[in-house]
């Protein structure tokens, strides 16, 4: 099961948050886990929009055999990130934000992966696992 949502406007970010909530509720995640992942999704969707020039998000149910989880992937074809370690530093921003987006999303999720290179766009994947 997966869904792909476009991220080209503020309203798309709101729609994505709602869709992530619906998916998490359907999987039986608790309120605090929902809130954390929706917040992380909001940060990453904004990055896609602001820094990546727009893109798309994929919401997917995943399993590693023992556990089930919700995976969110944010893809843009923007300028990419030069220095990932710097971009993950709290307080560092290249665009007038608070610089909590990437690092904050990483802390709020169970899994975090970033794939980027200058000129090659950015893909950020996060996941929340559900323990049964």
């Amino acid at each position: 099961m997966q869904q792909i949502l476009p991220l080209h406007s503020d309203e798309d970010v709101v729609r994505l948050r709602k869709q992530v909530r619906d998916s998490m509720v359907a999987m039986g995640f608790g309120l605090i886990e929902q809130t954390k992942i929706i917040t992380a999704a909001s940060e990453l969707a904004r990055n896609t929009l602001r820094y990546g020039g727009g893109g798309a998000a994929r919401i997917a149910r995943v399993s590693d055999g023992a556990r089930q989880g919700l995976e969110l992937r944010f893809v843009d074809a923007g300028p990419g990130i030069d220095d990932i370690a710097l971009a993950l530093t709290d307080g560092y921003t290249s665009g007038g934000g608070l610089g909590l987006g990437l690092g904050g999303a990483k802390r709020l999720a169970d899994a975090f992966h970033i794939d980027t290179a200058p000129g090659a766009g950015t893909t950020v994947t996060i996941a929340k696992w559900k323990l049964f």
Partner: protein, 118 residues
């Protein structure tokens, strides 16, 4: 254009955010509030976020900026009604809401603004 209503109660301004905020809406609210503090000669601003499911870094920055501007305009800001899950998430996100006073609900927020402290 979509706007969040600002209510006046004596020298206080009350904002109850009841929609899922997108970034432009947050910026408009920040501008509207600073204007209204001056035109209404307000001494306090209450921002009720009890209906907000999430507060991300952008909304957090809007709240902090509003509080900072209000302070310069001689008004104090109290954020009320934050849901526990939102508070937990904010801490993990690393957002400190510096310079912003908080209260459990509108009633306590009004007391805080009327009786000082904060």
């Amino acid at each position: 254009m979509e706007r969040i209503p600002i209510l006046r109660m004596g020298r206080l301004l009350l904002v109850t955010i009841q929609v899922d905020m997108h970034d432009r809406l947050a910026m408009t609210l920040q501008d509207d509030l600073s204007t209204r503090i001056v035109t209404d000669r307000a001494t306090g601003v209450l921002i009720d976020i009890s209906a907000l499911d999430i507060v991300d870094s952008f909304i957090g920055r809007m709240i902090s900026n509003t509080a900072a501007m209000a302070k310069i305009l001689d008004a104090r800001t109290v954020v009320v009604g934050m849901q526990p899950a939102v508070a937990i998430t904010l801490v993990e996100l690393g957002l400190t809401l510096e310079g912003v006073s908080t209260a459990l609900n509108v009633e306590r927020g009004i007391k805080l603004l009327e009786w000082g402290g904060a």
